[in-house]
């Protein structure tokens, strides 16, 4: 009887293990990965293909908190940003809150080419991302320019304030400061 019980447990365990291994196997990775010549063999999830969905205010708040949490690993924070952007009702208020928030590394000494400088720059980047979200929204609906104006006068970061000022100037002309900046950079020759 004992032997039969042990055998049964062994078989159940074996099935469980096999099941777990199958669901964890590399065959779950994107099938196209290996076909990509000279490309890292990674799973690349096309985020843009994911469905938009409506978030409740609490979810939005929690994601925006996660996005701004400098203690979290970068991928988690970037995932939070993607989730926020999938929100069908991403409010300008949420983006404004992010853009206004202070940089957690603002009081640290930032020696060039150091981790603290990179950290500071990255946090500024997060706030600029939110500001760019507002810029995009304001180009579709000029009434939302008021949020950029708010950032230009109230953001904790002087850099974010300055960029918001520029964006406002361009948005009122129906132009995207970010887009023109990117195109201007791309149109230049790289040093050879």
């Amino acid at each position: 009887m004992k032997k039969a019980f042990s055998l049964a447990l062994f078989v159940i365990g074996l099935i469980a293990l096999a099941t777990l291994l199958v669901f964890h196997s590399p065959s779950e990775r994107g099938g196209d990965d290996l076909a990509l010549d000279s490309q890292v063999v990674h799973e690349i999830k096309p985020e843009t293909q994911k469905q938009k969905k409506a978030l409740v205010p609490e979810q939005r708040k929690s994601l925006s908190k996660k996005f701004l949490d400098a203690q979290l690993p970068l991928p988690e924070r970037l995932d939070a940003w993607l989730e926020l952007n999938r929100d069908t009702r991403l409010s300008p208020e949420t983006l404004t809150e992010i853009a206004l928030s202070p940089n957690p590394y603002r009081n640290e000494k930032k020696e060039p080419h150091t981790v603290s400088e990179m950290n500071f720059r990255r946090e500024e980047g997060f706030r600029i991302m939110a500001l760019q979200g507002l810029e995009k929204a304001a180009l579709k609906d000029p009434a939302l320019t008021k949020f950029i104006e708010q950032v230009s006068s109230q953001a904790a970061s002087p850099t974010v304030r300055k960029i918001a000022g520029k964006m406002k100037e361009f948005v009122t002309q129906g132009k995207s400061y970010s887009h023109l900046f990117e195109q201007a950079v791309l149109n230049q020759e790289i040093p050879q």
Binding site: F10, G13, V41, L78, L82, T114, G125, Q132
Partner: protein, 479 residues
Amino acid sequence: MKGIKGLWIFIIGAATLIQIQARADQERCFPASVVEQLAGNFSQLSPYVDRSKTEICESQLGAQWATVVETLIDLKDIRLSDEISYPTKDDFSFKAIPDNGWWQYFIERADQFQLMGSHCSPQVVAYVTPFLRGVVNLCDAFYKENRIARAETLLHEVRHFEGYGHVTCSHGADKGTSGACDDSLPEKGSYAVSMQAEITLGLRGKTFSEAEKALGRAQALYLLQNRFNEPTDVKIRESLYLESADGKVYDWAPQESQAPKAVIRLKEPARIYTSSLDTIIYPLDLNTPAYRMSEDFSSQATQIGMYADAYNKKSPTERAGYKALGYQTDGGILTDGGISTLCGNGFMDIKAGDFAEPINTIVTLEKEVQNPVNLFAGASGKLYRLECNTYMGVQLKPLDSYVPANLKRAFIVGEKRYALTDDGQIFELIKNGNQYELGQDVKFSGINENWIEMAVRTMPYLFDDAKNAQTGVEMGEIY
């Protein structure tokens, strides 16, 4: 009891196996052929080349080399994205960043890595020393950075080999910090390279997440505002595209007092219009569909816009009825049958029979809050403006302004206005009260003056003076 013990052993064993399997899933692997290619530039990778394998993984390379290889592949793989490849001649590839531009830039400057440089401290990310050209010293922090930041760091560092150093910041977030800024953007030092790398990877990188790319682009804006002592910002260069009867397109900026510069020969003569930085081309051959080209004509857009989409759905007979298009918000499609414009949730029409007089063309003579305004010119020369109202629909309102009746196109460039007449001549257009009158005709020596098209072009620029923001260094052709 014995059975339960066996089960526990089994569960622990299974959990261990799953962990190993999960780790194997997370391990970074690279095509063996690519590692071999990289070893051609960085001989330190030669020991890892193994032709009997299809992949070389992190377990063989070690975590640090795997990170370096991953970053090198990112640099090697910067490619144009979201564009249909359009056959263009190589000599037309004046694009600032050709497919392998950054890779070439990097391998011409670096050939060796110190995986943990001798001057590393916990704060330092990477460094180079001028007397050891070609060697990039990496520190622990480098391996913890995200992929775009790592690529940007490598490109930034190798620029120092050419003697580009940093200076004390005179303004911005690091005002007073020594060695945190470059003098100016036009000198194209390490921070100019950083900024350009963040934008290039942030727009064209194919192996990064959308969020990582957005962060890269946002950080480039930060660099623009804080890393250059000489204030630098986005500027706009306005010019006109002029097209000759054989489909050759010239760029002419009247304010620069220079002759028009040939930028492209279209595969066939066409109507050309500009929208944002793109050019939308409606071939005169009515059997050929409209298409949309990037700002330098180097690639064809996948999305051609609603106007061109609508045009391509028409039969050649219907296409023959097209008179002009206006790409400003108050523009539209002018055909023999009337005007079709975007208003409310879609297209709205005014039938030609409802016009007070036949409408000949669309002109852009004024700006409102810096925005060009499209106006419709009647056969008598009277101007009309299209108004879109959610409740009333679209209406063509007459204005008390007049242009010469023989205008084909007219645009405002800077403070001046220029017109292309029906007979292919270009004139300055002078505003005199409520009349716009033909002023001096514009002639260019050595250039065929039978113009068939004119379009206004707005080009942003940063690094150099305006004349370098001109499209094209050498003229190419679209086939």
